[in-house]
Amino acid sequence: MTPWTPQGTVYGTLLNFCREWDLWSERMKQDPHKAPPKAPVLYVKTANTFCPAGQDMLLQDGVSEVDIGAALGLVIGAQAQVVGAVLLNDWSVPHASYYRPPVKFRCRDGFLGLPAQVTAGQVQDWAALQLKVRCNGELVQTVQLGDLMRNMPTLLADVGEFMTLQPGDVLMVGTDCLADGTRPRAKAGDRVEISATGFASVITSVKGQP
């Protein structure tokens, strides 16, 4: 069976976990942001980022370390309805500023780790889902989908206010940070696994440039 790849556009959501929002809340009022975001802050994971199940993640073009971004991606069907979900590894080059669009941090080749298949279901099935992140077998993060700023129905409604998700599109609900505001990192030689009950895991070997 050919491993799954998204047919549509993949969108990510910034600052959608309470912990990161709270850590940012003071800085949100300062320059250059001036105010907390009102609408969902989204970004696009372009098709060149798709890294199908079984493929290695190659660090190249001067990147030596990456943030692991364990995310649930909602898979969209007809009439912008959710028909299933996937675990994803939304890799990014660590970046401290959220002021300008993150193209060179998030849109590099291979920067979206994909699972082999989609799990069918509805958003209420995953409201309390736990995502486990392991690096070389060690548990480095547990993500609680109960901790979203905008829960999944609210996120879908607020995104739908300005853009209609198309059949085949994927909306990632966000990635959480650790207690200190950073994200777990990986470098060449690491094996990263994202898992959750009922979902195909995303398992990726990170390779460096020879």
Binding site: Q7, P101, Q166, D169
Partner: protein
Amino acid sequence: MKHARIAWSGAIHDAVEADGQLLLTQGPHAGRRVGFDEVVWLPPLAPVPQARTVIALGLNYADHAKELAFKAPEEPLAFMKGEASLIGHKAFTKRPAEVAYMHYECELAVVIGRTARRVKKADAYDYIAGYTVANDYAIRDYLENWYRPNLRVKNRDTCTPIGPWLVDAADVPNPMALRLQTTVNGKVTQSGSTADMIFDVPTLIEYFSSFMTLNPGDLILTGTPDGIVDCQPGDVIVTEIEGVGALTNTIVKV
């Protein structure tokens, strides 16, 4: 040659411009000519197997950067758009009732012709299939300083008209010296030249392909010069680039 993609007679067709008409080039009506006003114009882009990458540039003309009170960027200010925001020539774009400032942006759109990775500036033109015109509308009321310009400003349904033609690269000998012009209800409101881009097309292809693969059919919307004005429901906006085409769009209220 100028290529179009149109709906006519209950189906979608590829066509080329021929003596002021559309000549259908495939399907049961291949060889037939139809008038510009007889068809529905779609974005002039062949379907691609995976979601098309749509790169857009902000502040890529010195005068527009000044107009928006920023100093010129030191590297391209780029954001990504979803393919679903694209619509064709002569379409309707929605303006929400509550907004105060919605403006067009006339932009030269580059269509990638072959897979591009780590392309040098000197070779960049070899990777271009052709050019079209994009109108990358923005609603400034929704601007927030988070991944700015944020998608609520720039990735709205109906807010990226593109077309009418995909003009073969060979027919645009110097894309870096084309006049751009926008009219609102026939009155010229924006005029400039692609010569004034801060990062020219070869530089942009070198920059993006230095960290990402560009695939055939991917788009780069190269930014807009000075001269943006608010557009109201009923306004007819024509964004035109010399030798590439004149893209018409009408604003409607939601």
